[in-house]
């Protein structure tokens, strides 16, 4: 039985299915844990305890929230495009599962070993924009539509600097395989790309925050202007799925940043996957820290930052990297 199972797992398809199942379990736990962490970080920054009543130190609060979301009635607004309305959360959450596949938690612990892993993540994470667009259009609600329009223009704008910064690293290493890129930085902290390409890291992280619609770039769901933006009309678990997708995208962005810039699984004493997760969640903590520090930018400011600063800087960085790589060769 065990031998058969191992044989099944050694097949790429079996490995992929096992990885997908593990990823979905991870996503659910991760959503609850990050929601709790986010509220605790918010609370501590604002000098209050955060969730405290359900369970010791509020530890059971995510379960209570999950139970509430699951048990709520799902309502579609009058005049909504029902197909698109119900499709949108699924389109939002399905690609993110695929995005986890090529992430190298360690040389062995990788869902799918492909040499275009980076491209796969970039391609599938772009689908989230489509989901937000469908949600905004299908809801028959002006706030949702405005949120969707913002999401699309923001994502289109910020995908460019994101790609430029990723390309600089890809040029330098000569690969689009995340595992290969991470493996090229395993000679200690000084070999990490964050020191070789600091500008690319900063551009990647800012663009990543904008791509995941996190504050201070959370214009698609700006509470004070758009109620809740694209998910205004979603109740219960449909909102929960959007929420889960958002937090999973955060993990994907931070995991890619870890593999690209922070040496992946590189680290002393503890096994590689722990280092990978620690770096990923440290970046997520930074994202939360930003959210509870910086006020939301205006839309023109958002696009100005992208077009006038990040893209020129990213281009200059890319050109310089290409020139240096060529010169070294």
């Amino acid at each position: 039985m065990t031998a058969q199972l191992l044989e099944l797992l050694s097949h790429p398809l079996g490995q992929m299915i096992a990885a997908l199942a593990a990823i979905m379990a991870f996503m659910a736990v991760n959503g609850m844990a990050l929601q709790y962490a986010e509220r605790k970080v918010a609370g501590f920054i604002q000098r209050r305890p955060g969730p405290y009543e359900v369970g010791p130190h509020g530890l059971l609060q995510p379960f209570a929230d999950a139970g509430k979301l699951i048990s709520k009635q799902l309502v579609a607004p009058l005049g909504a495009d029902r197909l698109l309305f119900w499709l949108a959360p699924l389109v939002s959450v399905a690609p993110v599962v695929v995005c986890f596949l090529p992430i190298p938690f360690s040389p062995l612990l990788t869902g799918m070993n492909i040499n275009l892993g980076l491209l796969l993540i970039l391609a599938f994470s772009g689908l989230n924009t489509l989901a937000l667009c469908l949600a905004g259009w299908g809801s028959n609600n002006k706030y949702s539509l405005l949120g969707a329009a913002r999401a699309v223009s923001q994502s289109v704008a910020y995908e460019i600097p994101l790609l430029l910064s990723v390309l600089a690293v890809a040029f330098q290493v000569g690969s689009l395989d995340l595992a290969a890129i991470a493996a090229s930085q395993t000679q200690g902290v000084l070999s990490w790309n964050v020191l070789v390409q600091p500008l690319a890291f900063i551009i990647f992280f800012i663009s990543g925050i904008a791509e995941t619609n996190r504050a201070p770039f959370d214009l698609p769901e700006a509470e004070s202007e758009l109620t809740a933006g694209f998910h205004t009309e979603y109740s219960g678990m449909c909102f929960g799925i959007f929420f889960l997708a958002e937090y999973s995208y955060m993990v994907v962005v931070c995991a890619v940043a870890t593999a690209l810039f922070l040496g992946g699984w590189d680290g002393p004493v503890f096994p590689g996957p722990w280092w990978f997760l620690a770096k990923t969640f440290a970046l997520i903590f930074a994202m939360m820290w930003f959210r509870w520090t910086f006020p939301r930018v205006r839309f023109d400011q958002l696009l100005n930052v992208c077009w006038k600063w990040l893209i020129p800087l990213g281009l200059a960085n890319l050109v310089a990297t290409a020139a240096i790589v060529k010169w070294v060769q």
């Binding site: 970080v41 920054i45 000098r47 305890p49 820290w289 509870w292 520090t293």
Partner: protein
């Protein structure tokens, strides 16, 4: 012009770091408050709760009160009322007022600025009531007490659901506190 803009941008980026420092500092600062229902403040030495009776030296069941009525008379809110009897009388027979508690001056025989009984006969305190809903915590009763028989309690967690729950029987409270095992009248 462009140099000025560059300088402004660098200044703006620096301000972002300053903001992160502020929130990060708040994040790791130690707590100064406690989670009330689970923890309670321990340092209540300077807290002025409602007044309480001070027990006599060596006898925790008996108040130090000499029943001079000064606290009753000086109280601007008229929230203190007490009853006493002498050893010859039955309890409650001497200075019964038996009536309206909320306005002690109306029924109490000693509240209309009569001087306290001049003789030195022994008096026994029957009851010492405080209507805390009227009290303004001015402390005149504590100041004027010649026997130091009243002090501020440290009952910081006094709560009630009705006005009646703030009509405190301080004598019973004293005895409850002196007798271990019995449920206290109020936490302190």
């Amino acid at each position: 012009m462009s140099m000025k803009r560059l300088f402004q941008t660098i200044k703006g980026l620096w301000s972002l770091l300053v903001g992160l420092k502020v929130t990060g500092g708040e994040l790791i600062k130690p707590w100064l408050t406690v989670h009330y229902p689970r923890q309670e403040v321990e340092n209540l030495s300077s807290y002025r709760g409602h007044i309480e009776l001070v027990p006599a030296v060596g006898d925790p069941l008996t108040p130090r009160c000499i029943m001079c009525w000064k606290c009753v008379e000086i109280c601007p809110s008229r929230c203190i009322s007490l009853r006493m009897h002498t050893p010859g009388e039955a309890a409650g027979a001497g200075s019964t007022d038996g009536g309206l508690f909320l306005a002690p001056d109306v029924k109490s025989p000693y509240s209309t600025h009569l001087s306290p009984p001049p003789d030195k006969i022994e008096r026994i305190l029957d009851s010492y009531h405080l209507n805390y809903s009227l009290c303004s915590l001015c402390g005149l009763c504590v100041q004027s007490c010649p026997a130091d028989a009243i002090r501020f309690s440290r009952n910081a967690y006094l709560v009630g659901t009705s006005r009646q729950s703030f009509e405190l029987d301080l004598l019973a409270r004293l005895r409850n506190q002196a007798t271990p095992g019995q449920p206290p009248a109020g936490r302190s």
